[in-house]
Symmetry: C2
Subunit: 428 residues, 2 copies
């Protein structure tokens, strides 16, 4: 039987999970591949971690050159994360004719075009199923199975930490900070949670997915980003009353003008939408194509073995390609798609505000909305304390600029004490 | 730009949908493929249908030889359905060195091994994403993206007609026959509905999916099959009270002994299971792998454009392979998996029965269950008319043989007037 040799860079959660999946299912994998798939070397900054993955210590060193400079290694799995030294290592591997499998969303989102070009120049594979949605088959189905479709919209939950936090807030009526602290104590959220809760992680993943779905290079700046730190238990409660769940969504959509809009932010999703019931640390990506209609992929978006599953799937593909002397054909997009100016983005909004409980208050608010061309679909009012009422209202479809104009108008109204939250409504 | 030529056999729903998707997204598809994808000839028994798909009449004939004997045609899409003449046409195409794309689940379920062998012998592709789950990417993700997994279980809703009927029965509290008649009037169900409602269609699809998931040839006889014709509005109502939805499920699972069990039947699924909320004509397949954990694929399981999407995805893949002079590697399973004897299948059951409303009735029933080694998890009793009560109870995990023994025991009890339904519980 022929042999393909793999080197692994990084032995953290994903590196260790990948090692375990490869070891555990070795026989099955080699039968499916029709060849041996050998792990030849693993490099990590902390070789002492090898023991916790039951990884033979003779495979492990702290010297990446033992992976990158070994001419017998055909495929490198980069599972370090972050930009440097991962970027340097990936480029070195590609330039020395090795195929690369990576789960590094930040690297792909920031340097994808360069890596792709270098992979092209060296006629090797660059595969990254594990970078988005953990173990969920996503990149390959989108690129290959749905290749006959003009994709119209991608709406997704791509970050397990924030989905866990929002699910728990919903279930328990608890507030953001309390749930975050608990999630941190449980290891579901990092001590420094910004990458998750401010939406950076989701933004990286959306850049990768949207690039494939819409055949375009994507700059991170093209994607509006807002995190979940301002979502309150009150918002979730009102949303539920109206039949909606609040999720951190990644959205990429072709507007009527054909321009692309891309955003990451908390959004109300109607309970009838398949994404609305995606709970806890699960991820899901909902895709609408002109032929397939709506389709959705669901599963664990992170974790050692789920992400290891995706990395191993890519390793098998890269190995199969090397055995046949081919690589995946990946036609780089020739042109960048036109992006919709953020002001023109169309959506529905819902706003929670504290107003003075006096006659005419609602009329004044409605007047501002009317002047801005924003029309209201539904409104919930509750009396709160100290002569103030809390109102929560939802608009019909409107533009970002009309909404911004309304918010400026409210600032001039003496009856409006505070605009407590502004959220978007998607999935309808 | 290079060119790949396609011939289409059949211009019904799927053939027409495939033609439309290819025409509508021609430019996009050819950019992604990097070559022209030309429809060279279409054969159908009713060429008059060409007009309804806006299909140029010069492409269409009623002579399949114009597709099968044309040496310039590289790929044949078999979209006729049924066994003959589809089987003959597919074999002729494969033997003349053409790759074949088909959406014919019955043909694959009954003659898959032969077709696969002939494709192997002729070094051509045989692709069939459209045969299961309409447009949902399923076969490729299972075979390729999840190739690093030992699959433990597949639980799926694979028939849109029955899911539409059961969803409507659930929503409206209506009975099976009324909803079937309505579905027939709307064109959602065939005038001769047996293939759908008796579970044959689902059985064919499960045979295809389980063969891939578990690396084994599957005979249709290996799959227990029971349709939805006996599911009543009462069953659905009781199930809902206990927190379950009733769905026609396809199940393939590795038992503890490693033997495979495969069944198609109506089952109660807890509302918390992602399949439970798959409504109307949608399909979904839930897969549990040892590395990926649980994952699910969801979308439209039928229809011209959704199934066309899958067929076109396969045509693009087959075309790409031909341009590179390769074919998909598909290691045929060497051995057939051991099948679990049906008697030993483990599941939970729920039973609805009419009993005489007299002291000791429940005790007698419980006695029979105890003698058979079946233990009850929950029970709902409602008084009905004429001194009779209806009871609905659910067991803990038990075997088919213990359940059959209980049912025999009930037949001997004078207090049991009728066992109205016996259903299984899955997804817990």
């Amino acid at each position: 039987m022929k042999k393909v040799s793999v080197g692994i860079l990084g032995l953290g959660t994903v590196g260790g999970g990948t090692f375990e999946v490869l070891r555990q299912n070795k026989e099955l994998i080699e039968k499916r591949l029709g060849a041996h798939l050998e792990i030849k070397a693993i490099a990590t900054r902390t070789p002492s971690r090898a023991a916790s993955w039951n990884c033979p210590s003779e495979l492990v060193s702290n010297n990446p050159d033992l992976v990158l400079n070994d001419p017998e290694i055909d495929i490198v799995a980069e599972l370090i994360g972050g930009i440097e030294p991962a970027r340097d290592f990936v480029l070195r591997a590609l330039r020395s004719g090795k195929s690369v499998v990576t789960a590094n969303k930040e690297l792909l989102a920031k340097h994808g075009p360069l890596l792709r070009q270098v992979a092209d120049e060296n006629s090797v594979d660059l595969l990254f199923e594990g970078a988005v949605g953990g173990g969920i088959p996503l990149i390959k189905p989108l690129r290959e199975s749905l290749a006959g479709n003009r994709i119209e919209e991608v709406l997704a939950i791509l970050n397990g930490t924030t989905n866990f936090i929002l699910s728990k807030m919903t279930r328990e009526g608890a507030d953001y900070h309390a749930v975050l602290a608990e999630a941190q104590a449980l290891g579901y959220a990092e001590a420094e949670p910004s990458s998750d809760v401010d939406g950076f992680d989701t933004q990286y993943k959306l850049a990768i997915v949207a690039g494939i779905a819409f055949d375009t290079p994507v700059d991170l700046d093209d994607i509006f980003r807002e995190g979940i730190t301002k979502v309150s238990a009150r918002d979730i409660e009102y949303a539920a009353e109206l039949g909606y769940a609040i999720k951190l969504v990644a959205l990429a959509r072709r507007a009527e003008s054909s321009a692309l809009e891309m955003r990451v932010h908390p959004a109300l999703l109607p309970h009838s939408h398949p994404l609305a019931s995606v709970g806890d640390a699960f991820n899901a990506i909902w895709v609408r194509g002109d032929a397939v209609g709506e389709t959705m992929f669901y599963g664990r978006g992170a974790g050692a073995h789920p992400t290891g599953s995706a990395v191993v799937g890519d390793l098998i593909e890269a190995a199969r390609n090397r055995l046949r002397g081919i690589r995946n054909i990946d036609h780089a997009p020739e042109h960048k798609a036109v992006m919709l100016p953020f002001d023109e983005a169309q959506t529905r909004f819902c706003v929670r505000m504290q107003v003075k409980d006096r006659p005419g208050a609602i009329a004044q608010i409605a007047g501002v909305l009317g002047d801005s061309g924003v029309s209201i679909e539904s409104i919930v009012q509750k009396k709160t304390e100290h002569g103030e009422a809390e109102i929560f209202w939802m608009t019909h479809d409107t533009t970002q600029s009309a909404m911004d104009q309304s918010l400026k108008g409210f600032a001039q109204l003496e009856v409006v004490r505070e605009v407590s939250s502004v959220l978007r409504v998607e999935g309808e």
